[in-house]
């Protein structure tokens, strides 16, 4: 629930300065983003202070994360700049196991003295909590990697691109929307650089430089006389890329039905804003859907969120076990279903994989936040549930001895825990285009973009909207629809998966501010898929007269 508040606060129209200061850190100038961080040799020395202090106090394990988190957010509406925010947050988090119990403390005093104090506090917390701990923490073994590093392979560092260039681009996109019939447009650019150093008593010293970017906008068209307004959101995706994502390369565009354009690793915000304005206007007079069963052809920019909610979350092991029962909920995908070895999550063509490695994705890193080298693994293969998402202290609960490498913390100031890796639907093996998905549909709807989304606490029943909807009749798109939402049950829905486009249509979608935990932490995650068809899904009409 917190995620929505977070996005609303951080999002279009509001200033990012309302975000909690402990998450963003101090506001600085754009130039200061370019200042070099602490030298890696000094980080190693300081991290060793934490590890040695922890060991001397009786900890059986310790890790230290020295993090410098840089953010730049730009907000505009119509022809105005609303806000440009640059922030820096720097500190260290120390996590220990003492008496078989976790303890964590953090400080922004990244000095020998500050680190010693934080480590002492972490050990004291572990020892205090061990009195009520029933089962000691058990860690899966991990390799000692020595001194290693990893960087997001970016082509353009956002920090080196002048703010004026970013502002100009957003204002140009806004201008394009206004010229094409929009009454209002808000746009924003979120850019993040995590400079993370990890060290643990397992003997790893890992230096990582992680980049993410998210351009987005919302366009609104209004008919005052009818008292109606409709919006259309950007069809961009947040990505694990540098500023090169904004280049708008033709080679990365995929032509979709009804003139829609899909974007792979390069986004053309002006082109998308132009289309958005026209489509928002068209929505004002679009036909209201007739409720009933439809075959749904779902664009990757829409299907990503459905994957996120109906596959990503229910297969988080901590949810399955009940650790998130009081917040996000538990899961229908219980251990007995997994153990049976034949639980049909989806139809035979459904293959869902988890990874922390896919190039350009939000989840891609070399090592997770507890020093485990990242990888890809199966969650669902040929429709059957195969595995969950689990980290070092969890995998023994599912009889495995290797962490999946999906541990993450939003900052040095928060303790790391299991977070969703990228979860993606593998493209189909047969050569199918989007046209092939549509051509044999008698009565269907093509949906692109993210809209309203809601799912129950065990991830059975969901309802999703979208940004644009097109009616399919006898194999052809015949026009725009409105007031569309589909309701289904996770297992029923994935078992209705009938046809998947091949890899040429594959694109990733993402969520920049996924929320989990108490106190809540955000994380960024991608979901890849090709356009996919689901047969006979229940569609409701969401129009009301008041």
């Amino acid at each position: 629930m917190k995620r929505r508040n977070f996005i609303r606060t951080a999002g279009l129209g509001a200033g990012a300065l309302m975000l909690p200061s402990y998450l963003l850190g101090d506001t600085i100038s754009a130039e200061a983003l370019l200042a070099p961080g602490m030298d890696v040799a000094i980080k190693k020395r300081l991290a060793d202070v934490a590890l040695n202090t922890a060991k001397s106090l009786g900890a059986s394990y310790a890790d230290a994360r020295i993090g410098r988190y840089l953010n730049q957010y730009v907000f505009t509406r119509e022809d105005k700049v609303q806000n440009v925010v640059n922030t820096e947050s720097f500190g260290i988090g120390v996590r220990v196991i003492a008496n078989g119990t976790w303890g964590f403390a953090s400080t922004n005093k990244v000095t020998e003295d500050g680190i010693k104090k934080a480590t002492q506090q972490a050990v004291a917390i572990a020892k205090a909590n061990s009195k009520i701990q029933k089962v000691p923490v058990k860690l899966a073994p991990v390799k000692s990697y020595g001194e290693v590093s990893w960087k997001t392979p970016i082509k353009k560092d956002f920090k080196e691109v002048p703010v004026s260039e970013k502002v100009d681009l957003l204002l140009s996109a806004n201008g394009a929307a206004m010229e094409n019939g929009a009454n209002f447009v808000n746009s924003a650019l979120f850019m993040v650089n995590e400079q993370k150093y990890f060290a643990s008593t397992e003997g790893s010293y890992i230096d990582q430089d992680v980049h993410r970017i998210w351009p987005t906008f919302g366009v609104t068209a209004i008919d005052r006389s009818a008292g109606k307004f409709k919006s259309r959101q950007a069809l961009s995706a947040p990505m694990g890329l540098g500023y090169e994502y904004m280049d708008g390369l033709d080679s990365e565009k995929i032509a979709g039905p009804a003139g829609l354009i899909g974007y792979r690793n390069s986004y053309d915000i002006i082109e998308d804003a132009t289309a958005a304005a026209k489509q928002a206007k068209e929505r004002l007079t679009a036909k209201s859907v007739e409720a009933g069963k439809y075959d749904l052809v779902l664009d990757p920019n829409h299907l990503g969120l459905t994957i996120h909610e109906s596959v990503g979350h229910p297969l988080e092991l901590d949810r399955v076990l009940g650790y998130e029962a009081n917040y996000a909920g538990t899961s229908f995908a219980t251990l007995d279903k997994w153990k049976s070895g034949n639980f049909k999550y989806g139809s035979d063509i459904v293959n869902l994989v988890a990874d922390k490695t896919y190039p350009g994705s939000l989840g891609a890193v070399g090592y997770d936040d507890e020093g485990v080298k990242t990888k890809q693994w199966d969650l669902v293969r040929n429709g059957v549930l195969k595995n969950y998402q689990a980290i070092r202290d969890q995998v023994h609960m599912i009889d495995q001895n290797e962490s999946h490498g999906c541990c993450y913390s939003q900052s040095w100031n928060d303790v790391q825990f299991q977070r969703m890796p990228n979860v993606s639907l593998e493209p189909g093996k047969e050569k199918y285009s989007v046209h092939d998905m549509i051509k044999d549909v008698e009565k269907g709807i093509y949906i692109a973009g993210r809209g309203s989304y809601s799912i129950d606490q065990q991830r059975y029943n969901f309802q999703f909207g979208g940004t644009v909807f097109y009616e399919i009749k006898n194999g052809e798109i015949v026009g725009m629809l409105d007031d569309v939402a589909y309701q289904s049950n996770t297992q029923e829905f994935w078992n209705s998966c009938a046809k998947i486009c091949d890899k040429d249509d594959y694109r990733i979608f993402g969520s920049f501010f996924d929320g989990k935990g108490q106190p809540s932490q955000v994380s960024a995650v991608s979901h890849g898929s090709s356009t996919t068809r689901f047969n006979g899904v229940n569609v409701i009409n969401t129009g009301r007269t008041i």
């Binding site: 506001t27 609104t220 009940g322 606490q457 309802q463 939402a485 309701q487 969401t542 129009g543």
Partner: protein, 438 residues
Amino acid sequence: MAIYTKEEAKQIMEKALSFSTADTCTINLGGSESGNIRYARNTVSTSGHRSNQNMSVQVSYGKKSGIATIDEFDDESLKKVVKRAEELAKLSPENPEFMEPLGPQSYDESVTYSEATANIKPEYRAQVAASSIEPAAAKDVTSAGFLNDSSGFSAMMNSKGLFAYNKSTNASFTVTMRTNDGTGSGWVTRDVNDINKFDPVEASNVAIDKAIMSREAKAIEPGKYTVILEPAASIGLLQNMFGSFNARTADEGRSFMSKEGGGTKLGEKIVDERINVWSDPLHPDVPTATWNGAGQPLKKMKWVENGVVKNLAYSRYWAKEKGVEPVPFISNGIMEGGDASLEDLIKSTKKGILVTRLWYIRGVDPQTLLYTGLTRDGTFYIENGKIKHPVKNFRFNESPIIMLNNLEELGQQVRINGNLIPYMKVRDFTFTSLSDAV
């Protein structure tokens, strides 16, 4: 020590202000101490403590402004943060919506602080967890809960002579109780400024009872039902409705509050005439600070009177554009209730559904304020004035406007998420599908 007294805060802010040479300068200073405990599977999973202090300095030259923040307040740091804000302001583009800071204001004394809450120790949090875990375990139930308490201050001062200060404490508690056979789930939430008003044993028992009562729920057909909504069920929809009381989006034509043909619904009847909503920062049960982030004094303000929209919020900029007085945004929602207890409402219901909570609420259509979401943690069928049996959870698609037009009866008020909301009975609430979730 992150909590400064009024005098200490004043001194630091005056010092910072003295370093500024910009046209205007506004300082915000705040600090808090918070602690939490989280438990699941009938054992404590994490506990934490956070101490936080921060100053933001906003300066302006004409319509150009810049903000910088810092968490250390010695003279050098204060000089540095003011200088950084001034540099940022000079570089920033003009903001056409820039408003000069307000001059001196007078504020009521708030009632948001409780010494008892500020003095909470880790032992107390552990005891709260035990208040859930022990009775749960004794009844074959598993608890998962979270308690967070905080005390803090916020202060504001500007170069036009405004000074504001507030000290507050808060504690919020939620616990989910699940029966070990996986067929029942209950939940409760409590939030207070004064921890003496919180009884963790009572709260935990409510959730345990609901978990046990909700076991082996029966499926009934989705459709339109008379519902009794506990305040924890209606608050999500109501808060979304409160959020639409914004003059600017209404004037712009992109809000539920926009009127067909132009103008807004200000002065129009939108819900049943028994609905009255106001905000009041001095209400003893749901107090808030008596000033907001713009330094505006917060006073008691009517939003809905006898079903009619009485006020829309105007930011200072939008009020100037429209030539009206600014109206600060809603601080706490207080909805008038009645005398009926929950039991009374059940007794007077021939056929209906009692809803503990609505969850995962998301907007579907901003035009009609249509929202979707699900019931959770205790949904019961009522027949002839009695709870007959638990029912499976439903997905709903409903607008708070339709809900408040279909009002049957208002019951007693309960504090929920800083608001004061009555139990309410509503007819024809729209459930659109069933969920297997427990």
